[in-house]
């Protein structure tokens, strides 16, 4: 994690809007990067920081809703839509697809700023979750194939004896595996291990 200074991306084909928003957002202390088209935005290098995207609905190259759909498949920042038409069907679609806010031009500064702040907060927690998940995956990857197998038994509530019987090995060996698993996964208790496995989407072994 680098500096946690949030960044706001503005995508609007109208230079007047870009300039005005850049100035307004800078005045409250955000870093602002503005783009004239969706293509420009997609192609740009983005700093590793919590962010929010202020997106014009009617872009010349890609429609805002289309871009929103594309971005949903990546780890993209939350979106605040702005539009000069502001029709209800579009706003419903945008909100359903997870937009933070849908603002009709012209809009007040407080409306915009609170939407952006909400978006940044969302992104911050999403990034935290992703980092946690990445860390967990990293830990899980350190397990040997055998340890991964034993893990499903441990989180499935099997005693060492049962696990040993099922896997055709000794209770002592399972005990050793178990210790290794707890250490590598950084779990201090069985309950914690179960929680971590659940976060990783590991399915506990079911009794036959």
């Amino acid at each position: 994690m680098t500096i946690d200074r949030p960044i706001v991306f503005v995508v609007d084909d109208d230079v007047r809007i870009r300039d005005a928003l850049a100035s307004l957002l800078a005045s409250v202390g955000f870093d602002v990067v503005a783009f004239a088209s969706a293509t420009e935005f997609l192609g740009a290098e983005k700093p590793d920081a919590p962010a929010c995207l202020v997106l014009d609905l009617e872009l010349p190259d890609i429609h805002g809703l289309e871009l929103q759909k594309d971005l949903a498949e990546r780890e993209a920042p939350p979106i605040v839509f702005i539009t000069g038409h502001g029709d209800i069907p579009s706003s419903v679609k945008a909100m359903k697809a997870g937009a933070v806010e849908f603002l009709s031009k012209p809009f007040g500064d407080e409306e915009l700023l609170s939407a952006i702040n909400a978006g940044i907060a969302l992104d911050r927690s999403a990034r935290l979750k992703r980092a946690e998940r990445a860390e967990l995956t990293c830990r899980y990857e350190r397990l040997t194939p055998r340890e991964r197998e034993v893990l499903t038994f441990v989180v499935g509530g099997f005693a060492n004896k049962q696990t040993a019987d099922e896997l055709g090995t000794s209770e002592i060996t399972i005990g050793v595996h178990r210790g290794q698993i707890m250490r590598k996964m950084g779990a201090r208790s069985l309950a914690e291990l179960v929680r971590l496995a659940d976060k990783l989407g590991i399915r506990p072994h079911q009794s036959p």
Partner: protein, 638 residues
């Protein structure tokens, strides 16, 4: 030869007087006498002559050498059993003749008793039964053969007594029904119930009348499946004509029956297909000069029963006189050149109706390459042809409509224009607002960032100018609206616009009533502008009635002629109504959340461009009536 009592002791036979012996020896039968233990004490001359044995060789047990090797054990053991039981008996066996050939004989033995009733010995005869035996053997073999044949013929065979009792059934029959001969006595149980009563009736009739029997019926197999069979039964009669027996042969015709059914079905299909497709088949036999035609052709040509349709002239006679020479020539050429026949022509039915025909024919030649016949198909194209004409008319209507729609698309841009004006104005406006906020925030910062605040203020001024420029452009756009005036029917314009309005979702629950004066003279006006005008007013009216729920939504469009000759068009709704109708014509007046408030202003400017007037008035009941008044001869100079 039943001796029961011998007047002399058995062992005395050898010592009998010659005359008595001579009698026994001359009897034309083979005779013998044994003692109580079964050893021969006397064998007559015939016996000896037949076998060629000497008396010395034959007496005692010596005679058994003349028995056939295969019969010896059987006969001697039987003989032993008689000796043991003391009972008389008979057995057949082969006896060797002096010439070493064998013949079948019947050996019979009778016990002899002495005066005190004790067993004294045995006597018996040996009778030649060879001829009879051979005959019996042949009969048995014949029966075996017959049985073999009957059991293996691919038919079910059974015989019945004159009263109908089944007394024989071949293996095939028993195997098929999976039952015994006794079960067959109740044969109707094996017949499918659909045919059962018919079979019982027919069989009873044959038994009674002696008439041969023939019927087709379904017979249930052991596995429950019914197959079709054909049964024939004929009586065999004694010389006195009385019936001795019934012979019944039952043949499986299921496959044939199925083929027949399939054929019937496919013929029915073909007829149906011919009827549905209005296609018939025909055949012209050249040598015989005969025409065959299918029922469908006869139907299309309205042929009456009894009409002779077998000659070509009949068919050519039905062709429309205008088409006949062409078709006759074409047909003749096909015959001459052995080429495919293909023709489209009209026929005239007896009632004068004209039908359109399409005919094709394929020439068929023999091995020598001579034309033998033409096989063809004929399709009635009348409906198709009529449909084509209909389609032609319909597509003309569609083309017409499309033309109108493209004009309508032009009109629709008015609404879109308003939307894009809104967007155009909103853009600089949004920038102005954002810049103003930015400016204030830069100023409010500690310390105030004057440079940035000035920049923002400068942008406000620029954006404001932009907005003003846009409004100016919009104004000039409407002012410059060019009018192309042509003579047109106002009613027609109304109908076109109503067509457009019909596609509007808001229209669905609204009753639109029209009262168009058919005598309205032609106007001199711009069609597109009039359409814009009417569409705008009608959509307004629809919106005005949209929210009402306490009464039916109602719209009236009425055209009429004023006393001075002006055309008047009124559009009345029973909607929410306007508080001050005249104010509605002011630019930017709107009762709608999203409206620009320009619609009625534009409408009035259009009417003005046509030297007319547009006014609005509140209805006595509910809603508003807009009245357009257009002079018939507008100033043509504009």
């Amino acid at each position: 030869m039943p001796f029961t009592r011998l007047p002399i002791p058995v062992d005395g036979v050898q010592h009998l007087d010659d005359p008595f012996r001579a009698v026994l020896d001359t009897i034309p039968a083979l005779l013998w006498i044994t003692d109580a233990a079964g050893a021969a004490v006397y064998i007559n001359r015939r016996w000896l002559e037949y076998t060629g044995l000497s008396e010395g060789e034959a007496l005692g047990w010596g005679w058994t050498v003349a028995l056939h090797g295969e019969d010896r054990v059987r006969l001697t053991s039987y003989w032993q059993s008689l000796l043991a039981s003391g009972e008389s008996g008979k057995i057949e066996a082969r006896l060797r003749r002096f010439d070493a050939s064998y013949r079948w004989f019947l050996f019979s033995a009778e016990p002899l008793h002495d005066a005190s009733g004790g067993l004294a010995g045995w006597c018996g005869s040996v009778t030649d039964i060879d001829d009879r035996h051979l005959a019996e053997e042949a009969a048995r073999a014949a029966e075996r053969d017959l049985r073999l044949i009957l059991d293996n013929v691919p038919a079910l065979v059974t015989t019945a007594t004159p009263t109908g009792a089944i007394d024989f059934a071949n293996r095939q029959l028993l195997d098929y029904v999976g039952a015994s001969l006794e079960d067959l006595q109740d044969w109707p149980q094996f017949i499918d119930e659909r045919d059962r009563s018919m079979m019982i009736e027919r069989w009873a009739h044959s038994l009674e009348s002696g008439e041969p029997f023939a019927a087709e019926f379904r017979l249930r197999r052991a596995d429950g499946i019914c197959r079709w069979f054909h049964a024939t039964a004929v009586p065999v009669r004694a010389p006195d004509r009385s019936i001795v027996r019934w012979y019944v042969v039952v043949i499986d015709v299921d496959d044939r029956k199925r083929v027949e059914d399939a054929l019937r079905q496919s013929e029915a299909y073909l007829r149906e297909v011919q009827r549905l497709s209005c296609t018939g088949g025909w055949r012209y036999d050249i040598a015989a000069d005969l025409v065959e035609s299918s029922p469908e052709i006869k139907r299309v040509y309205a042929i009456q029963p009894g009409e002779d349709t077998s000659r070509p002239p009949f068919w050519f006679g039905r062709i429309h006189p205008e088409d006949r020479p062409r078709i006759e020539a074409h047909f003749a050429r096909c015959l001459r050149e052995k080429t495919e026949y293909r023709a489209t022509y009209r026929i005239v039915l007896p009632d004068g109706a004209i039908r359109f025909q399409y005919a094709v024919g394929q020439p068929i030649t023999n091995e020598a390459g001579e034309l033998v016949e033409i096989i063809g198909a004929q399709m009635d194209m009348t409906e198709h042809w009529l449909a084509t004409i209909e389609l032609e008319r319909a597509s003309e209507a569609v083309r017409d409509l499309q033309m109108k729609m493209s004009r309508a698309a032009h009109i629709a841009t008015v609404g879109e224009l308003a939307g894009s004006i809104a967007h155009e104005v909103n853009q600089p406006l949004a920038a102005v607002v954002a810049n103003a906020h930015a400016c204030l925030r830069w100023l409010a910062a500690a310390p105030p960032n004057i440079d940035r605040a000035v920049e923002a203020a400068q942008r406000i001024a620029d954006d404001g100018k932009d907005a003003g420029e846009i409004v100016r452009k919009v104004r000039s756009l409407f002012r410059r609206a060019p009018a192309e005036k042509v003579p047109l029917d106002l009613n027609e314009v109304v109908r076109e616009v109503l067509l457009l309005v019909d596609s509007s979702p808001a229209r669905q629950s609204v009753l639109i009533e029209t009262g168009l004066d058919p005598d309205l003279p032609m106007l001199w006006a711009d069609r597109v502008q009039l359409q814009q005008l009417l569409l705008n007013l009608m959509l307004n009216a629809l919106e005005a009635v949209e929210s009402i729920t306490d009464r039916p939504k109602h719209l009236t469009v009425r055209s009429s002629r004023a006393e001075n000759g002006d055309a008047i068009l009124q559009i009345a709704d029973n909607g929410i109504g306007l508080h001050d109708p005249e104010a509605a014509f002011e630019p930017f007046f709107t009762t709608k959340e999203k409206g620009m408030g320009l619609g009625l202003a534009i409408c009035r400017s259009i009417v003005a461009a046509h030297s007319g007037t547009l006014s609005a008035a509140r209805n006595a009941g509910a809603g508003t009536t807009f009245t357009i008044r257009l002079p018939l001869q507008a100033d043509t100079s504009s």
